[in-house]
Amino acid sequence: MNAELHHLTGAYAVDALDAAEREAFEAHLDACVDCQREVSEFRETLALRAEAEPVAPPASVRDRVLADAASSRQLPPQLPDVVVDLAERRRMGDNRRRLLTAAAAAVVLFVGAIGALSLRSDGDPRDAVLAAPDAVFTDLAVNADGADGMVRVVWSADLDEAVVIASGLEPVGDDQIYELWFLLEDGGVAPAGLFRPEAGSVEAVLDLDDIDGIGWGVSIEPAEGSEQPTGDVLFVGTTA
């Protein structure tokens, strides 16, 4: 623990840091459990003070607040802790994101081609998912330093199946495999299935448990798969 930073807990809790110091301290806070506990206790203390010294605002404020809420959307729930802050990453990796967007556009064309094919040839389980009326297409974003490639998940809740379409993935040996994860509303993750790219590419159909996830994650796991990610979550995307 950095003693200098640790002494900023009080100043941080009363918002007495300037913007740069606040940012630096928050970066430290993410990793320092002691500081988290102290800041949280200080905030509870200050909230008790607020509770002991209430001042009712005029009724007109209530009307405006409720009107605001009725006309504005809430943020989607927080992604699990294993998933780093996407907004942060976007800020840092705009160029990379542009590349990904281009790659995703290419996949749209590709998936379009599969869709067209499915009109003529049936029997491929991929087609059933891709053509399902409730199919949800999710392009996953790179979520870990050094991760490369492109992953799209097409999911049909009715069929309880998903198609993973990926390319440019890092090859893995026989002792490892790629695992798809459900991101859950409560912040957890659940296994969604395993897939093994050939030369970095894959189109795999996964049978899913009947789980309502809010998004997807991908990590590299031991060949038998894992119950919870043991490797970095390399890609994430929300279905919302």
Binding site: D15, R43, E44, P54, V55, A56, P57, A59, V61
Partner: protein, 210 residues
């Protein structure tokens, strides 16, 4: 501080639904109730949000008014704070603190950002620092008397004068610890320490545990 009086008077006739059988003392439950309501708010429940507002608005308005001082500007800040609460409710993480303290922290942060914004500081700097120079305004003036106020006063009394001054200048005036140091003519490290030590003492006096 006279301009704050009308708001104080309004409390008794505010639209906050109060249960007649329940004394306003039922404070230990406020935090629990705020948590329960916020989980519903996180699922987009607008009625729960209205209840959350009724429960928390007097706390937030008090916090903001002490920092911003101007009542109509304070109303705007409270409105913005609740807009943030609504938007961010699905991301509220109860493992990092209570719903009550989360909401208060959002409002305080917003109030401080407002008084620090360029035009605000241009408009207010002289006044703010002059008043701070004289003495931090007593919050008791603003506060409707209630039993918990007494407990809080005792807790505040447990602070040393320098600790209390540092906390009030920072928290109630929105000054940075550097400004506190300059104003009190003490080293910056001392200002930091006084704020933290004061909070530790308050925390321990009030028995706050995480």
């Amino acid at each position: 501080m006279g301009d704050v009086q009308p708001f104080r008077k309004r409390r008794s006739s505010s639209s906050t639904p109060t249960n007649p059988g329940e004394s306003p003392r039922s404070f230990p439950d406020l935090g629990d109730r705020a948590s329960a309501l916020l989980s519903a708010v996180a699922r987009g429940d607008e009625r729960a949000f209205a209840d959350f507002y009724d429960l928390m608005a007097p706390l937030l308005f008090g916090v903001v008014l002490r920092v911003v001082r101007d009542p109509s500007q304070s109303e705007e800040v409270v409105q913005e704070a609740f807009a943030t609460i609504w938007r961010q409710a699905p991301r509220f993480d109860a493992t990092k603190g209570s719903a009550k303290s989360w909401a208060c922290a959002i409002a305080h942060r917003r109030a401080v950002d407002v008084v620090r914004s360029v035009e605000a500081s241009r408009r207010r700097d002289t006044e703010r620092h002059e008043q701070a120079d004289l003495a931090p305004a007593s919050v008791e003036e603003l506060v409707t008397s209630r039993l918990d106020g007494e407990r809080m006063r005792q807790a505040m009394d447990s602070l040393t004068d320098p600790q209390r001054a540092a906390i009030e200048l920072a928290y109630d005036r929105g000054l940075t610890y550097r400004e506190v140091a300059a104003l009190l003519d003490i080293p910056e490290g001392t200002a930091k320490t006084r704020i933290r030590d004061g909070l530790i003492r308050l925390r321990d006096h009030l028995g706050v545990m995480s």
